[in-house]
Amino acid sequence: MSFAQRHLLGIEPLAPSEITTLLDLADQYVALNRRDVKHGDVLAGLTQINMFFEASTRTQASFELAGKRLGADVMNMSMQASSIKKGETLIDTAMTLNAMHPDLLVVRHPHSGAVDLLAQKVNCAVLNAGDGRHEHPTQALLDALTIRRAKGRLHRLNIAICGDIAHSRVARSNILLLGKMENRIRLIGPPTLMPAGIADFGVEVYDDMRAGLQDVDVVMMLRLQKERMDGGFIPSEREYYHRFGLDAEKLAHAKPDAIVMHPGPMNRGVEIDGTLADDINRSVIQEQVEMGVAVRMAAMDLLARNLRAARRQTTGGVLV
C-alpha cells in the first residue's frame, strides 16, 4: 500500500502504484456502500468543507455523501453567491476557512490552478473537485474504477475520449491517468475543440468518429457546454450530433463489448443518443455515479491517514 500525497490536486503527481492503491480501497467502499448499514468511521472527528466556486450538483453531492458515510462533519459552502461578490480574494477566503481548522477541503473553481494556489495557503488536505480546464482527478479515478470493474483490467485497453477535449478538465485528467496505466488513447472531436500541442500528448487524434471508434474497448463521451454550441467552435448543435454524437450506428465500429461512459450531466441528442445512454448492456453511466462516491471515500480516507500521520510527527503524538 502506498499513497504518499498530502493533497489530491490532480492526476499528474500520482504514481501508478498510488492510483492502484486508491482504486483497491475504493473497491472495498463499493462493497460498504451496497450494504444496508453504510457507515464507516475513519473520518470521525474530522471536518470536511466543500467549497464550490462554480455550480455543481452531482460532484458536490457525491463528496458530501462520501464524507458523511465515513463519519466526517461536512459543511457545504456555495461560493458563487457569497464573499467573492464582496470582493474578497481567493487567498483571503482560504485563510478565513483555514482559521476554522478544517481537515479536508474540497474545492471547485472556474480558473485553472486556483486549487493549487489555495492548497499552498492552508494546512489541511485539499481535494481538487475541478479547476478550470486543468484537472478533475476524482472524475478520472472513478472512470478508472468503472473501467477496471467492467473490463477486469486497467491496462492495454483501447480507449476513445470524444467531444470537447479543449475545454475539458475531465479529458485532461483521464488522458493523464489512462496514459500512466499504459492504455492506448484516442481523442475524437472537431479540430476546433482539440487543445493546442495535442500531438505531443502521446495520443492518437481523429476527427472522424467511425475511424476513431474502430475496435475500441471503452468510449468516453464528454459534455458539450451549451455556450460553445453555436457558431464559435462548431457550426450548430445538429451538425455536431450528426458528426460526433454517439449513436448505435457509430458505436457499431467499436468492439462488440465496448462500454459507453459519460461524466454527466448529459445533453441527450447532442453528444449522445438517449436510448444508447439508457442501454444497460452498453452504458455504465449509472455505475460511474456509484463509483464516484466510493472513489471519493477512498481519496479522503487516504489523505486523512497521511494528515494524521503528519500531525503525529509534528506534535509528538498529541492530536491537535
Binding site: 480574494t89 485553472s112 486556483a114 493549487d116 494556489l117 479543449a166 500541442g197
Partner: protein
C-alpha cells in the same frame, strides 16, 4: 572644471570591443580614452578612481519602463524606480505612458517631467500615447507632445485595431519625424490569453495564444509602414515566426527596429511551472525554440534592443489564480545580471550585449548616450560580471517585488553607476 580618471578598467565599448584602459571624464562628459600606460602617467588635478579591473560600460538606456506615477504610486514612484534603475546600471529610463491617466497630453507629460526631475537620480525620458486615452480612436497632439519632450509615441499593449486610425497617426507622426512604438500582436487571437499555446498550456488548462498572433500583428504594422513611411519600433519580438518578416522589412529599407525583453530572452513557458504568477508577462513566455531564435536574432542584429519591460505589480494583483493575475514583472535591477547569463553561456559578448542595452536604444532615440567616446555624456556603469549571488526579491529597491528571478542564482553585480559623471549608486 572637475576631472575624473577611471583607470584599471575593462572598457566595454559597444562600437568597438573590449580593451583594458582608462577614461577621463570632464564636466560630465567623456573627454578621452587612455591606454593603461597613458593612465599610469601623471594627470594633475584629476581624481583617480581605480576600477579594480572590473567592467566599465555605457549606462543602460531602457526603453519601456513603467513608472506607476500618476495613478498607482504605491506600485512604483519616480523615486523608487530611479533608485532601482541606478542600482541596476540603467542611466536612462524611457518611461511608458500607460499610467492612469495615460500620458496623452502636454499637461500630463509635464507632470511626468517635473516629477522625474525632482525624484529620479537617473535620466528620465517620457513617451506619450499615440491615441487619446490609449483608446485607438483619435491621435494625440503629437506636435505639442514632441515640443514638451516626448521621445516616442506608443499605446503600449493596447493594439490599435482600427487601421485607418493607425495609418493616419503614422502618417502624421512621420511628418514630424516622431518615433512610433508598436506592440505586434493580433488582438483577436490573443484576447484572454495567459500563456503561449502548446502542450504545456494545454496540460495546465490555461487560455493560450498562438505565437502566430505576433507575426500577424507585425505583418500588419509592416504593411502600414510601407504605406506611410513612418519611423517604427516593435516593442517586443519574442517568437521565431516573426523574425523573417522583420528581416525582410529591414532589407526593404523600412525605418523599423525591434526590441525584446529580458524575460523572453532568459526564461521560457515551462518556468510558469505550477501557475507561478510572477512569470506572467505580456506577451506570454514562449517555447524554448523561440527563446533560442530570439537570442540569435539579437546577436545578428535583427533584433536591435534589449529592454527590461519593467512593470511593477503589487502583491494583491499577483496573488490570484493565474488567469486573473496581472501581467508584468519588475526588472530594472535584474536586467543586467539576467542579461549576463547570456554572456556566461557564451551566447553574446559583452560589447554585443551593450550594443543592445545602450548603443542601439540611444541611437534609435537620437541620444548622445550609449557609447564610450570622447564627447559622449559620462553615463557609465561599473560592474563585476562574475560575482555570484542568489536574488532575494525583498532586497529590490522597486516598491513592487514581482520579479520572476526571486531565489534565482545570478552572476554579475553593479558596483557603481554614474550619471553625467556623478556617482548615483555605489560607494566610489
Amino acid at each position: 572644471m572637475t576631472t575624473t580618471l577611471f583607470h584599471n578598467a575593462r572598457l566595454i565599448d559597444p562600437e568597438g570591443g573590449e580593451t583594458n584602459g582608462a577614461l577621463i571624464v570632464q564636466n560630465g562628459l567623456i573627454s578621452r580614452l587612455l591606454s593603461p600606460q597613458e593612465a599610469a602617467g601623471d594627470l594633475p588635478g584629476a581624481t583617480r578612481i581605480d576600477c579594480g579591473g572590473l567592467c566599465l560600460a555605457p549606462g543602460i538606456v531602457d526603453i519601456g519602463v513603467k513608472v506607476c506615477e500618476p495613478g498607482e504610486r504605491h506600485k512604483e514612484s519616480f523615486r523608487s524606480a530611479g533608485l532601482a534603475a541606478a542600482a541596476g546600471g540603467v542611466t536612462t529610463m524611457v518611461t511608458r505612458p500607460d499610467t492612469t491617466p495615460a500620458i496623452d497630453s502636454p499637461e500630463t507629460l509635464e507632470f511626468v517631467t517635473r516629477r522625474a526631475k525632482e525624484a529620479s537620480p537617473v535620466h528620465v525620458l517620457p513617451m506619450a500615447t499615440l491615441t487619446k486615452g490609449r483608446a485607438g480612436r483619435e491621435m494625440t497632439e503629437i506636435g505639442f507632445l514632441l515640443d514638451a519632450g516626448a521621445v516616442a509615441f506608443t499605446d503600449c499593449d493596447h493594439v490599435i485595431t482600427n487601421t485607418k486610425v493607425l495609418s493616419r497617426a503614422l502618417t502624421y507622426a512621420r511628418s514630424l519625424g516622431a518615433l512610433v512604438i508598436g506592440h505586434p500582436q493580433d488582438p483577436g487571437l490573443s484576447e484572454g490569453a495567459a500563456a503561449t499555446s502548446g502542450k504545456f498550456a494545454s496540460l495546465r488548462g490555461l487560455p493560450a495564444v498562438s505565437p502566430m498572433a505576433e507575426r500577424m500583428g507585425l505583418d500588419r504594422d509592416i504593411a502600414l509602414l510601407e504605406m506611410t513611411g513612418a519611423r517604427y519600433h516593435a516593442d517586443q519580438i519574442t517568437t521565431a515566426r516573426a523574425l523573417p518578416a522583420l528581416m525582410r522589412a529591414k532589407r526593404n529599407g523600412l525605418d523599423i527596429t525591434a526590441g525584446t525583453s529580458i524575460h523572453h530572452l532568459t526564461l521560457n513557458e515551462l518556468d510558469l511551472a505550477d501557475y507561478r504568477t510572477f512569470f506572467k508577462v505580456k506577451p506570454p513566455l514562449r517555447a524554448e525554440d523561440d527563446r533560442l531564435a530570439v537570442i540569435d536574432a539579437l546577436r545578428e542584429g535583427v533584433i536591435d534592443i534589449l529592454c527590461s519591460m519593467h512593470t511593477p505589480q503589487d502583491e494583491e494583483s499577483k496573488r490570484l489564480p493565474f488567469e486573473e493575475a496581472a501581467s508584468g514583472a519588475v526588472a530594472l535591477e535584474t536586467l543586467l545580471p539576467a542579461a549576463l547569463r547570456l554572456y556566461h553561456s557564451g551566447d553574446l559578448t559583452l560589447p554585443e550585449l551593450f550594443r543592445a542595452l545602450a548603443l542601439n536604444p540611444a541611437n534609435r532615440l537620437g541620444l548622445p548616450q550609449g557609447r564610450l567616446r570622447a564627447g559622449a555624456p559620462a553615463d557609465l556603469v561599473l560592474f563585476d560580471p562574475d560575482v555570484p549571488f542568489v536574488l532575494d526579491r525583498f532586497t529590490l529597491r522597486s516598491k513592487s517585488k514581482n520579479t520572476p528571478f526571486d531565489g534565482a542564482r545570478l552572476q554579475g553585480k553593479v558596483r557603481a553607476t554614474f550619471v553625467n559623471g556623478s556617482c548615483v549608486f555605489g560607494d566610489l
